[in-house]
């Protein structure tokens, strides 16, 4: 099944499992998604395989970055009539607090949806959205549907 068809079906059936399953790496990390008023909230379930520093333990920085990048891409796919998965041009990740052994949440805001480039800001948190563990700003190359 073509990716664009999987996404169309996921949107019409509001089947977020199907949506995330379309991206193997998101599935590998254990990311799930819920929607509230057009905004997707991604959830990274804690598991041993995402640990970076086992002494703390803390979630691997690359995984937190990937959670945020996925949240941004999924938000773009959800709100935009897209024929292709957005391509990351640049991503800047700020690591703010250590992400401990618990679930992590992420929300992405599309700050600018241009004709070819979309700019997205996303934050990730655990217990308190006002105390984010990490934040990104990223530019994506997008291919809008005709």
């Amino acid at each position: 099944m073509k990716l664009v068809d999987i996404i169309a079906r996921a949107k019409s059936e509001k089947d977020f499992g199907l949506f995330v399953d379309a991206i193997p790496y998101a599935k590998f990390l254990g990311i799930s998604v819920k929607e509230e008023n057009g905004l997707l909230r991604a959830r990274l379930a804690f598991d041993d395989h995402i640990v970076g520093n086992p002494a703390l333990p803390a979630i691997h920085g690359g995984v937190v970055g990937a959670l945020l990048e996925n949240a941004a891409i999924l938000q773009l796919l959800w709100t935009q009539q897209s024929v292709r998965v957005p391509k990351t041009i640049t991503i800047t990740i700020d690591y703010l607090r250590s992400a401990g052994p618990k679930d992590t949440f992420a929300v992405a805001h599309v700050t600018k949806l241009g004709g070819r480039v979309a700019n997205v800001h996303a934050t990730a948190w655990q217990d308190d959205p006002d105390k984010p563990v990490a934040a990104i700003n990223a530019n994506f190359l997008i291919t809008p549907a005709e």
Binding site: K2, L3, A22, I23, P24, Y25, A26, K27, F28, L29, D48, H49, I50, V51, G52, N53, P54, I59, H60, G61, G62, V63, G65, A66, L67, E69, N70, R84, V85, K87, T88, I89, T90, I91, T92, I93, D94, Y95, R97, S98
Partner: protein, 134 residues
């Protein structure tokens, strides 16, 4: 680091302030299933790991550190079915900060997949003279 193991990351080379890591191709790490290209997040993890390795060896006495930020420019998509490499080097260190630069590539370092810069902060004793939480 469990996630590095889960990804199958291997160390290729490590010297003072420099490290090269390898990420073997794996279908579970794919971003776009239509073309089999590895997800940018997997590249981020590889780059973060390479920078961490390189930063730890950058000082005469190895010191614990945490990532402050990473900026990754994606230059071209990775070729599927082939391993990824990341080479990271500390181009400057201060008492508190390691300034890192990294390149991700496959067959040839002049044909980059991604270019990255990042800062890492030293924590623990020796950082400002006191034990400090980041």
């Amino acid at each position: 680091m469990p996630h590095n193991r889960a990804l199958g990351i291997e160390a290729v080379l490590a010297t003072k302030g420099m490290a090269i890591l390898k990420l073997p191709y794996d279908e579970r790490l794919v971003g776009n299933p239509e073309n089999g290209v590895s997800h940018g997040g997997a590249v981020t993890s590889l780059i973060d790991a390479a920078c961490g390795f390189a930063a730890i060896s950058a000082t005469d006495v190895p010191r614990r550190l945490v990532t402050l930020d990473l900026r990754i420019d994606y230059l071209r998509p990775a070729t599927p079915e082939a391993p990824l490499f990341a080479r990271a080097q500390a181009y400057h260190t201060t008492r508190d900060i390691a300034f890192m630069q990294a390149q991700a590539y496959q067959d040839d370092i002049v044909d980059l997949i991604a270019h990255a810069t990042g800062t890492f902060m030293f924590v623990g004793k020796g950082a400002g003279g006191t034990e400090r939480k980041s």
